[in-house]
């Protein structure tokens, strides 16, 4: 039994094709301007280089979206996936303000927010999340976060300093990041 699902992002192989982002958009038929998974680019000049991080909702242990939502739209499934009851959303955007990773996205046309649900319906059918399945470089993986952390013990604090990411102690995200500079 999976205690908590999570993502692994291996930045070493990511070349920024954004297939994950497009596959997610296509799978979930999100409206114009609404991307549940985004790929952020980092440029360095000492030494010259670039890196990419693909990120969506990190299904945190302490989800800030769930904490601030006044309409009680967010809940955590037994497998740790943070899901949103979209019908109940009132579009106050508190979840957007609170999430350190900018996971919830507001659709001004519908007047509501939505976010990645780790393709919960696909997982329930025994399939992989669409982003993981679509990644041509095998950069994205998913699974029980304890297993992923056993396989790769990438230190989040070091990565946060390097890529100016939010402090993981705020929400305890379920993500393992292997930074671009690390050896194979």
């Amino acid at each position: 039994m999976v205690r908590q699902y999570g993502f692994l992002v291996d930045m070493r192989g990511c070349y920024g094709c954004k297939t994950c982002s497009m596959a997610c958009k296509s799978e979930n038929a999100t409206p114009t301007g609404v991307l549940w998974r985004r790929v952020r680019e980092f440029n360095f000049d000492d030494p010259n280089g670039m890196a990419f991080i693909s990120m969506s909702c990190n299904h945190c242990d302490d989800p800030q979206c769930m904490k601030v939502c006044p309409a009680d739209t967010y809940s955590k499934r037994p497998d740790g996936i943070v899901v949103q009851d979209h019908e109940k959303c009132i579009g106050c955007r508190m979840c957007i303000m609170a999430c350190p990773y900018n996971a919830p996205v507001f659709d001004p046309v519908e007047g509501k927010t939505s976010k990645c649900n780790l393709c919960a319906e696909r997982l329930d059918e025994g399939l992989k999340p669409r982003c993981v399945e679509s990644c041509p470089a095998g950069v994205l993986q998913f699974g029980d976060i304890d297993e992923l952390r056993k396989r790769y013990s990438a230190d989040l604090s070091r990565i946060e300093t390097r890529y100016k990411l939010p402090d993981h102690r705020i929400s305890h995200p379920n993500i393992v990041i292997i930074p671009a500079g690390d050896k194979e």
Partner: protein
């Protein structure tokens, strides 16, 4: 425009203005200056109470404009167990009830001094509680250091005190002007209230400046806030004009309606600018990842 969150700006500023005015009226009745006789209380303060009630109701309704789906606003209390926004909704619903009762007492039972004092005291406490609940909504967000600080609470209280005490002090000064009561003094407690509001607001501005020494998002917030032209107006309209009003009223206890309106607009617009900075200091950095 979205980074300023204007519906929330006007909601918070108007409701804090209303609460600050109730606190100032309570302070005025506590010091009970000689000129505040029954007739004055009856004629002046009863209409002021109605205006304050309207400001509080309008401010509360403006918060609905922030919602993407306003028709679902009733669902905003479902998260009462964990969400400070749900608690804020309940707090302001209750506050409107308390302010309504207070306004009725001020309007209908104004000659009963002890009842008016008690109602004002209760309304002031309810108002302060609602403001602190409002501040908690932003304090709760640990990922934004500019909001996740007690300065958020300080900033909201400063706005209430500055606007409230300036409003009631100017109202008293206009009353003196019309009565040609040049000898009457504005109670020192009212002017102290203004200066306390200015001082607290100065602390908030200095804390923003101190943010430049920080790191990460706090530096971004400090740069966004201090680099904005709105900061200039906050300093001029809030700190300088606020201090100027207190100094002027200390020396001269009367002022014409036109001057009072102009001064009030300057201070009010500064409070609006300050709140716009509060939101844009964080929201201008979105998306933060």
């Amino acid at each position: 425009m979205s980074e300023y969150e204007l519906p929330l700006v006007f909601f918070t500023v108007l409701c804090q203005w209303a609460v600050g005015s109730i606190i100032a009226i309570t302070a005025l009745m506590t010091v009970q200056p000689v000129w505040l006789n029954e007739e004055t209380r009856f004629n002046r303060l009863r209409y002021m109470a109605l205006v304050i009630l309207v400001i509080n109701i309008v401010g509360s309704f403006l918060s609905l404009l922030h919602l993407g789906s306003p028709l679902g606003a009733y669902r905003a209390i479902l998260g009462l167990g964990h969400s400070w926004l749900s608690r804020e909704v309940v707090a302001f619903f209750l506050l409107n009830g308390v302010v309504f009762i207070w306004a009725v007492v001020m309007f209908r039972f104004n000659r009963n001094r002890s009842l008016v004092k008690s109602a004002s005291f209760v309304a002031s406490l309810a108002g302060i509680a609602a403001i602190l609940v409002s501040a908690q909504v932003y304090y709760q967000m640990a990922s934004h250091p500019m909001w996740h600080s007690l300065v958020t609470h300080l900033s909201f209280i400063a706005t209430a005190l500055l606007l409230g005490f300036v409003t009631i002090s100017l109202m008293v000064a206009v009353y003196h002007y019309r009565q040609q009561a040049q000898q009457s003094k504005i109670p020192g407690l009212m002017l102290t209230g203004i200066l306390l509001g200015v001082l607290l607001m100065l602390c908030v501005v200095l804390w923003y400046s101190h943010g430049l020494n920080g790191q990460g998002q706090m530096v971004g917030s400090a740069i966004a806030v201090l680099g904005s032209g709105l900061m200039g107006w906050l300093i001029f309209g809030g700190l300088i004009t606020g201090t100027g009003v207190a100094t002027y009223l200390y020396k001269q206890s009367s002022v014409s309606m036109a001057k009072a309106t102009l001064l009030m607009l300057v201070v009010l617009s500064a409070a609006v600018c300050g709140r716009m900075l509060f939101y844009s200091g964080v929201m201008s950095q979105s998306p933060w990842f």
